[in-house]
Amino acid sequence: MTPFAAALALLPALGAGIMMGFATSKAVDATARQPEASGKINSILLLGLALAESTAIYSFVIALILAVK
């Protein structure tokens, strides 16, 4: 059963991926509207992406802990 549990633990990666795509699309929108603010948008985007990615990373670490002896 443990491999299934590990696979299920990876489900948050789905949400993280979708939402990171959302965030990037919004950032592209904002940059297209205001190209002069691209530096600021970039840093905010990277911060948000890192925080969103941490969900996926947690799930990955938990899956590893479950799967690896």
Binding site: S43, L47, I57, F60
Partner: protein, 296 residues
């Protein structure tokens, strides 16, 4: 050495020679062409054919020596194997980290003794690059965390050098120290210490507690919890990312066997170079953001 391997070798060699001849002829034909871009475009197909068939030939030859496709037999380990050093049992990644620190320290001493006295008012070469890096990290720290102290950019620069060095140690075939949870947790604890240090220095102990309980005292446990969660999230993020990159590279190497010739160096451009750089950037920017949040 069975018949199939011989056929593979011969076929790829023949294809390679054919593409080589084609490429040479195209090159000869297009030398007279006025537009160099167009000439390059015409040579592209035989060139790629040459590269792919050459890679296949080399890979087949190498896998003959190595013993063919190994199949996935990867032994995943959360923590690195341990080495017995006298009475101490030390993780191998710790040894790698110490070796890395030694290399960095020696480089620093060499730099101070040989390169630094030669620095002039007008920067050139190495001095130019170093000044650009130092200026960048200085400005970056000031923009993100505010004007706290002159030591903060220096610490951040040290962390960046250490993390990039850790990624480079993977290129030498070592397990990178950043794929050890304890190593990343140590770095994150340094951030936690700095966060509290600057918070208390700027606002005083009472002020820090007061700012944690800012809208109402009810929220104090939550704020303390979120502050404690900061180093955990930093450590887990770095660890997960680096371990993930390492596992992907190991999977590539193990599953491809001899056919990994050249493939791993292409994938390594992302997993050993670009990815650690991004993670270093994120680690630093998150540390600075946490510090700013504590001092604001």
């Amino acid at each position: 050495m069975n018949a199939l391997t011989v056929i593979k070798l011969a076929l790829s060699a023949v294809v390679f020679v054919v593409f080589l001849v084609l490429w040479c002829r195209k090159r000869h034909d297009t030398l007279a062409e006025s537009d160099p871009k167009k000439a390059k475009k015409k040579r592209r197909l035989p060139f790629f054919g040459m590269v792919i068939s050459g890679w296949f030939f080399t890979a087949t030859a190498v896998s003959l020596v190595v013993g063919g496709m190994k199949g996935i037999s990867l032994e995943l380990e959360m923590f690195s194997p341990r080495v017995q050093l006298g009475p101490l049992s030390v993780a191998r990644t710790t040894l790698t980290a110490y070796a890395l620190l030694l290399v960095i320290a020696v480089l620093c001493v060499l730099f101070r003794v040989f390169a630094y006295p030669k620095f002039k008012d007008e920067p050139k070469g190495l001095q130019n690059a170093l000044e650009a890096a130092v200026e960048f990290i200085d400005k970056f720290t000031h923009d993100t965390a505010g004007d706290l102290s002159p030591e903060l950019p220096a610490y951040m620069f040290c962390v960046a050098v250490l993390l990039i060095g850790c990624a480079a140690s993977e290129l030498l075939g070592q397990r990178p120290p950043t794929s050890d949870l304890l190593f990343t947790f140590t770095l994150a604890l340094c951030t936690f210490f700095l966060l509290n240090y600057y918070g208390i220095r700027k606002k005083g102990l009472l002020g820090r507690v007061k700012s944690l309980a800012s809208p109402s005292p009810m929220i104090l446990p939550m704020r303390i919890l979120s502050d404690v969660a900061a180093p955990v999230s930093l450590a887990c993020r770095l660890f997960g990312n680096m371990l993930g990159g390492m596992i992907v590279m190991d999977l590539l190497k193990n599953s491809l066997g001899g056919y990994a010739v050249g493939v791993t160096s292409l994938a390594g451009l992302y997993f050993n170079l670009f990815h650690p750089l991004i993670q270093t950037y994120i680690f630093i920017i998150l540390s600075l953001t946490f510090i700013r949040e504590a001092t604001e």
